[in-house]
Subunit: 274 residues, 2 copies
Amino acid sequence: MTFIEALKHRWQQANSLVCVGLDPEPAKFPAKFTNDPDAIFAFCRDIADATAEYVCCFKPQIAHFAAHGAESALERLIAHIHATHPGIPVILDAKRGDIGSTAQQYAAEAFDRYQADAVTANPYLGRDSVQPFLNRADKGVVILCRTSNAGAGDLQDLSIHADGNTRPLYQHVAEKVAGEWNGHGNCALVVGATWPAQLREVRAIVGEMPFLVPGVGAQGGDVEAVVKNARTTDGTGLVVSSSRAILYASGGDDYADAAAHAARTLRDQINRYR
Amino acid sequence: MTFIEALKHRWQQANSLVCVGLDPEPAKFPAKFTNDPDAIFAFCRDIADATAEYVCCFKPQIAHFAAHGAESALERLIAHIHATHPGIPVILDAKRGDIGSTAQQYAAEAFDRYQADAVTANPYLGRDSVQPFLNRADKGVVILCRTSNAGAGDLQDLSIHADGNTRPLYQHVAEKVAGEWNGHGNCALVVGATWPAQLREVRAIVGEMPFLVPGVGAQGGDVEAVVKNARTTDGTGLVVSSSRAILYASGGDDYADAAAHAARTLRDQINRYR
């Protein structure tokens, strides 16, 4: 089953568009992890196990492991999710982008070493830099389009003139991905929850392509506006990612229950507007 | 000493603008490394030791380590370079870019974990995504402007209209970096050797800012055109990076001598046109 097929299956099976972003920050872990040398793995595993029922995807963010030298924890975490929660795809959030021969190495890192089902990628270097990811037809390639941060517009909103049209850069990226890069049907786009109008515009360009939507929760994106502007005709099409608001819902011993509650609450909130 | 100061010092001291890109590909290693479990470290160390005399910088490319789970080799390699060849800055080629809180983690990865002196960064997410790197005033931030690959133009050449001007996106990036992002004076730009005309245009925009120039050697960039179009008024300003043509100059037991010869030859070739 390809990443996109698995995602569609899971949207239905779990009746959820929620993605839990696994961004471990040891300083925020409950006290019980203080002297645990494998705290990053153990905390993320507990969160994954507690929230699996309510999610369509998990999305570990690689910098949060790499900064602590915790590559082994990331490998074991993804293996644990595959073994314990089969059918839930894992998106490795790495935002990679480099020239072709190096992009091959990044594809090997994400798909062969970490066994991720999809990876996030940056389009600035052009199509050939993404091609080694695109060539893996069973894997997903989630390309940055309009990100959720305050500075996103610095480049992404620039007015560009190409192919006889004038429009913001992020819309050009959306059209290139949908029209030219998606030959294997394995592309998705990152469009931030903090920009509901842009979500609607990108949806109009790319049809039913899945969106990874960061920015609800701690970043302030409005769930109703996200769902109403960005869902596909069947009420899916979205991977709504929340990290901090779920992972650190409680700093106490009830962290796993609190995370489960936060994930379920977000799922239900989303489903109200689908 | 900051990265930029160290680089300027090294340009003079070594009379060299050459950077050796450390992109280990075990399949290309000489036969003596076949059964060496630490081959990635050992090969790169030998190359660094053999070429140090002829370089202004080393530039390990992180994907070539990560694909093989060789983070420890990368840590030890950079530590070895700092200990054995003090004064030669190390640029970690990682092309990172993410929202602010995650960019903090990437800055920790590059500068604290790996002890790199500079890191390459992708500008697509905007200034706030680069800010955690920029804030490290002693470290260098080498921002992608016009890359060396064939698909570079897909986004970077798009004609954009901003601030009353119409120009290619890469020129807009150059102007933003020089005019707004370089408050600590720690920025540099990636401009590929395969585009001599663009090198000249970017040099006109950013004054004396250092360029990291990949694309000579295996990628076919012309040394004379690079130097004449992109040097600063004092005949420096360039970090001309070559990887495969130096690392794999010989596949035999003379790999280190062959690498040294290739690095010296490139240095002399560059110096002819400075």
